[in-house]
Symmetry: C3
Subunit: 349 residues, 3 copies
């Protein structure tokens, strides 16, 4: 019996199955600094212990998306080593802040299975849950992924596709306990525009563009212990579909979030991800731009200091976003690479 991990194939997944993923990971100030160097985020809460303490935190928390990538990374060896494509995310909520010194682990539960008509692949739906060392949930989400069958002849399971919400109910979002943003410092955050100032339908071009290098996306993806082969191996990928290494979709999400600072500087926390699509692949040398539309806004019960904004951020490659390139009637405008729908929490006046 081989001691190397060959990953699970479609037949290996059963509804209700629980996968305990390997490699708990302690996040530290070192991870914070690397995330800073790789994405250049400027949200003041994640940048400054002083800003965080003024809001009631013990220190500056880990960027929500860094925690997401680490929780996600652990699922790769068990869920998506034999994946053809990562199809989507939904129903992601961030439950608790993560601080340097916290150790994250992930388990996943299979909640849906559907073989494709080609008989060679199927779609696996899992709910993955990241917990800290106190066994508290820090975030959870559903993703679905197309996975190869080991054997085309093996019988198809009964199709079972879970009902997923189009968006996370704003009333179910978690505002960080014991925090207070009423006196939030907008000189420190870089923008006087608070939750009250955004309106549904508003579109914001984030203006700036950032070119990605091979070293950068590989360092980021290794930081998360994400082992998907397509990101690292030019020898094999050079002979493959694209002729080159594919950048982890989460890298584009983090870049788009960092770019969104320019226009959304007070969007301090990501509270939920309603859905995300990697519309087209991204490669080293591509320059990523982004724009956002405010999809909705909701007060948070019991919090006069924070409100939720639902945002759709579109990222493009090699295409500035002054004209808001987006979904077409069928498909997407050329150059669009990410369509992300998420909730942020922003201080109120």
């Amino acid at each position: 019996m081989t001691k190397t991990n060959t990953g699970n194939f479609f037949e290996d997944f059963k509804i209700g199955q629980v996968l305990v993923h390997a490699t708990p990971r302690t996040l530290t100030e070192g991870d914070k600094a690397l995330y800073q160097a790789l994405f250049g985020s400027r949200f003041s809460l994640q940048s400054s212990d002083e800003v965080a303490r003024a809001a009631g935190y013990k220190q500056s928390p880990i960027d929500d998306l860094l925690s997401f990538h680490v929780v996600f990374g652990k699922t790769v060896p068990d869920i998506s080593l034999n994946a053809v494509a990562n199809l989507g995310y939904a129903d992601c909520r961030f439950h608790k802040p993560v601080f340097p010194g916290d150790t994250l682990s992930t388990i996943s539960k299979v909640i849906g299975l559907k073989e494709n008509s080609d008989g060679a692949t199927g779609v696996v739906y899992v709910r993955s849950t990241g917990r800290n060392q106190r066994d508290e949930i820090v975030l959870d989400y559903v993703r679905w992924v197309m996975v190869r069958k080991r054997d085309k002849g093996s019988p198809a399971p009964v199709a079972d596709v879970p009902a997923l919400p189009a968006a996370v109910d704003a009333n179910s979002l978690f505002a960080p306990a014991n925090t207070h943003f009423k006196t939030f410092d907008v000189a420190a955050s870089g923008s006087a525009h608070l939750w009250d100032d955004y309106a549904p339908g508003e579109k914001i071009d984030h203006v700036d563009g950032v070119t990605i290098e091979e070293a950068e996306h590989m360092m980021a993806t290794r930081l998360y212990q994400n082992t998907a082969k397509v990101h690292f191996n030019q020898f094999t990928e050079g002979q493959g579909r694209f002729g080159r290494r594919l950048i982890y979709g989460g890298h584009v999400i983090s870049l788009a979030r960092a770019l969104s600072f320019n226009g959304l500087a007070n969007a301090q926390l990501v509270a939920g991800i309603n859905g995300g699509r990697h519309v087209a692949p991204c490669f080293a040398g591509d320059t990523v731009f982004a724009w956002s539309e405010i999809l909705g806004k909701m007060p948070l019960e019991g919090r006069a200091d924070l409100g939720a904004l639902r945002i759709r951020t579109i990222a493009t490659k090699n295409l500035p976003c002054a004209e808001f390139p987006s979904a077409l009637e069928k498909g997407y405008a050329d150059g669009v690479i990410l369509d992300l729908d998420y909730w942020v929490l922003m201080p109120r006046r």
Copy 2:
């Protein structure tokens, strides 16, 4: 009204105006490690907690230039987003050591304005001051930068050019309080050459060369939250003046300082910057070399253990420095990219 930052134009600056810059930044062991990985410095005080404690510090301090870059980075969105060129630095002093856990913020005061004869640009002089979380000044400096006018037709302000010292007065330099370098370990530092051993006029070729990669300068510049567009966006820069991304001038300063270890291994602290000129642009793929000349030396009042050396370090690209390429009667020798005049503190015998 747009929520994105379009930056200030020449008309937006007024003499005496104070700009409170965004995004306080807590520096950590993570930033120290990244700075180490990016520049490879070997000064023992910044490398070892034990060396630092033996000299009276609570732990190894943050590299002075890392603090400088972070303080500088904060000014970019307000001062130089519409800059044509960064013209110079002067009168920079390092007041207090910065340690992991300290949070830096920056304010700038406009101290000079002069419209250029083309009517399209003007020079803005600011004094920028970086403070820690106890509101103590950690460093301050003057820089002047050529900024575009929003409207060529707008009236010119009365020209007001501040008098700047040719060099920081050595008597005004800050030696770190409660430290003692009398028993400084020269086996640990890598050189027996102390302050007493350097003489004005002495020239030192630092010998080594280091090639810069795109991923490196972008990671460094993002670490400082410096958002100047020219460093990051190949899509736009590819169509611009140089056809490529421009490396942040401070990256060359840090590389030259790290290279200067070979010949100046006991130049443990940067105490002041008298002036700096980025003579020519630097790009990924360029190999940086450096040499230094001792311009002067001064004892420090009340400190028998430390002396100040005034150093001029010239950095070049793709040009070894055995022949000390430098300023010509008019301009600089081909290949020179940096001319930096600064004070260091070095242990005495």
Copy 3:
């Protein structure tokens, strides 16, 4: 007298000579994070404070090879600045765990000298010892390196070649004191295969491949303060033997070790290095693969919870290892770049 370090030449080394190397280095969480980002290791003990505490450690230790590279890096300015080639390592043992906050220093003792028949170079054998701030040995090893003579005419020393063990005696390996792996969590570590499950002669293809970028190997090598010129200077190397920068051999060792997780996930600690040969150079753009053979296994006296496995890991470039490319009767199969023989400690059933 020049203040720059020109390094020692063959004539400068004497049997019994002790070299105290410069630049003590405090390792931190920042170094751990960078090592993670650069190599993507997944061994659970170095990844999680919780896993480490469950095994009796105070926190997650620094990766053994990161400590090795830092200890090694300090020797370069004194031992190998004028080296033609690094010929081999032997008799390396890891004595004590290293934790964030520990400060490492290195001394070397010259234990062998032999001039080459060309009269222009000689081989220098040194035992280098890394110690922490409590003066405890953390690791030691022998390496031998071919060094240029300053003057071809200078007389040859009496040849004195030390006897070196073909392998470290398993009985002399150090198991970490006050640790207990009897209840080691194999769900967290990612593999149920423990020491009991490996047999001498067993071969494991580690399957995955990782492409190296210039920025990555330079950042890693600077992190160790290794100043060997060939890794950093494209201007000079572009005119040299290979036309490009040479990757530090230790970079390949660390990559191979990280790749070996896939098949050796419970090889939590490197306890000794019996020998290592850099068979061929490695350059940016190369994709590294690896496979391992179990050479032997030994129980550890007094430890029912840990056993030692002797492993030979072969790394290749641009050559997948399904067919276990290795040593030929004469030389090595094309594509082999590293032949490493080492001891790991693995939890027992």
